[in-house]
Amino acid sequence: MSETRPLGSGESLFYRRRRLKGTIFQWLCGMATLVGVFALGILLIDVLVDGLGRMSWSFLTSFASRFPERAGVKAALAGSAWILGLTAAISFPISVAAAIYLEEYAPRSWVTRIIQTNIANLAGVPSVVYGILGLALFVRTLGLGRSVISGALTLSLLIMPVIIMAAQEAIRAVPRTIREAAYGLGATRWQVVSHQVLPMALPGVLTGTILALSRAVGETAPLIMVGAVGFLAFTPKGLGDQFTVLPLQIYNWIQRPQDDFRELAAAGIIVLLALLLTMNAIAIILRNRAQVRR
């Protein structure tokens, strides 16, 4: 009987056309998603093909050189390690403290609102602008010169908004009942924060910090501005020493027209990406552990 059919024959064409449109749209969206994935794949293959031939132990343990066959990333690796360590040491405590203040202490006032809006805006300021601030403030005004510490301070300012916002989110995710239970037992605000909230929020805070730090490790422009150099034949020994970092060394090699240096740049990129991938893997492991516990 015709009534048992869900659709009349005239409508069924209409429905089929709507469904077909839906299928086409779904495929288009799926393909759009693959654009990013493919771009990543091609980029990695391009870099690996160009650079793998140059990868060797001596590439990691040699200084930069005019002769491509002798050149390596020793100074750049050491500089990146210095920058990474110092930036973490400076930005982590200040950012976490700021996040604790904003989530646990701050009164609902216009001051708090200004600080909060300001942090969100700072996260969107281009990194070259931070470079100019670093140049004027740390290198010139404070007289720290073109040194590791100038670079680390500049990058700390750059990533602090990112860490603060990630830490705030992690702190916000701690259930309120935990705090209330602790207060009920007579704990002070700091005791609640340091004994209950922070330990629970820590994995999330660390994840955000590591991701922000990996951004700092990949930064080039602000360090050019504070005077990191692209060619260095020694590793920094102290806070006041000159330095170079991996991205800057790579940039220096890219700029040279000879193919040999292009290959060195690709090899440098492999080292940089390996470093970043390790940091990201740690962040993801931390995040998964945090999710399991909750």
Partner: protein, 299 residues
């Protein structure tokens, strides 16, 4: 508890609160610092160069004998790269977000999202390398008149670079749309396509537009990929196959050389940075305004 112990406890608590506040205030000092540093040199720059020449001049030749300080070539360079990047990233990013939020099975989503995060985490100097050694040679196969340094290759890599900005923020907005709206539309006989494009996307529009604005602002502030791929020629041109210079690339080029402090050339650095800062700040504020002004509140 004795009174003194209680007193010292309150004192300690107060001190901790002050220290935490000081740390939160650092961020505000940073902003003030940026504004102060930029403003000081910019004001001094405009005491020597008229602001009208800066904003309307079509030639940027600060280092020449006959100095010209028209910022338009740099500005148009930045806008051209950002436009090209937007043409790629906005539709691709939005469709990625729709796919991940509406269509993808949870397992597919869990695989694809980290890949997009990696894309977002690749340093910009790497994108520059990719543009120069892969995209540009590819463009030259199809269009032999393409210059070694060109705006098109820079636009393409910057576009790829900001796809994750669009897709992740838009996806958050799409996922925040409550299922009740979707179910209501299905109940009225809508297909999945109709639910996605006529119910979910319009409901999340404020978040999507905010992500667009933020992504474009990132493209304008992008530095290394553009410096490497687009070149250092302040050209006022609409041809993306030619070499250009963006504001950010000029800043990098200037700081690579040793420009003596106090000279007019040194001050151009700050005037250009101020222009860049105001544009990106304006766009960030605009995106926040769109979010708060046009947000649909769902329980």
């Amino acid at each position: 508890m004795s009174l003194t112990a209680k007193g010292s406890r309150t004192l300690k608590e107060g001190a901790i609160g002050m220290v935490l506040f000081a740390c939160a205030a650092v961020s505000t000092l940073v902003t003030l610092g940026v504004v102060f540093v930029l403003l000081r040199e910019t004001v001094s720059f405009f005491s020597e160069v008229s602001i009208v020449e800066f904003l309307t001049g079509t030639r940027w030749e600060p280092a020449f004998q006959d100095k010209r300080f028209g910022v338009l070539p740099l500005l148009s360079g930045s806008v051209m790269v950002a436009t090209g990047a937007g043409v790629i990233a906005l539709p691709v990013g939005l469709m990625t977000a729709i796919f991940l939020s509406e269509y993808a099975a949870p397992r597919v989503r869990r695989t694809l999202k980290p890949l997009l995060e990696i894309l977002a985490g690749v340093p910009t100097v790497v994108y520059g390398y990719f543009a120069l050694t892969f995209i540009t040679p590819l463009l030259r196969v199809f269009m032999p008149e393409t210059e070694i340094f060109n705006a098109a290759a820079a636009s393409i890599v910057v576009g790829v670079m900001i796809i994750p900005t669009v897709s992740s923020l838009s996806e958050d907005a799409l996922r925040a749309v409550p299922d009740a709206l979707r179910e209501g539309a299905y109940g009225l006989g809508a297909t999945k396509l109709e639910v996605s494009t006529r119910v979910v996307v319009p409901s999340a529009l404020s978040g999507i537009i905010a992500s667009f604005i933020l992504a474009i602002s990132r493209a304008i502030g992008e530095t290394m990929a553009v410096t490497i791929a687009a070149g250092n020629l302040p050209n006022l041109t609409a041809n993306p196959l030619k070499s250009i210079q963006t504001m950010t690339a000029y800043i990098v080029q200037m700081s690579l050389g040793d420009t003596p402090q106090g000279t007019i050339v040194y001050k151009t650095l700050f005037a250009v940075a101020m222009t860049l800062f105001l544009i990106t700040l304006g766009m960030n504020i605009l995106s926040q305004w769109v979010l708060s002004r046009f947000r649909e509140e769902y329980q």
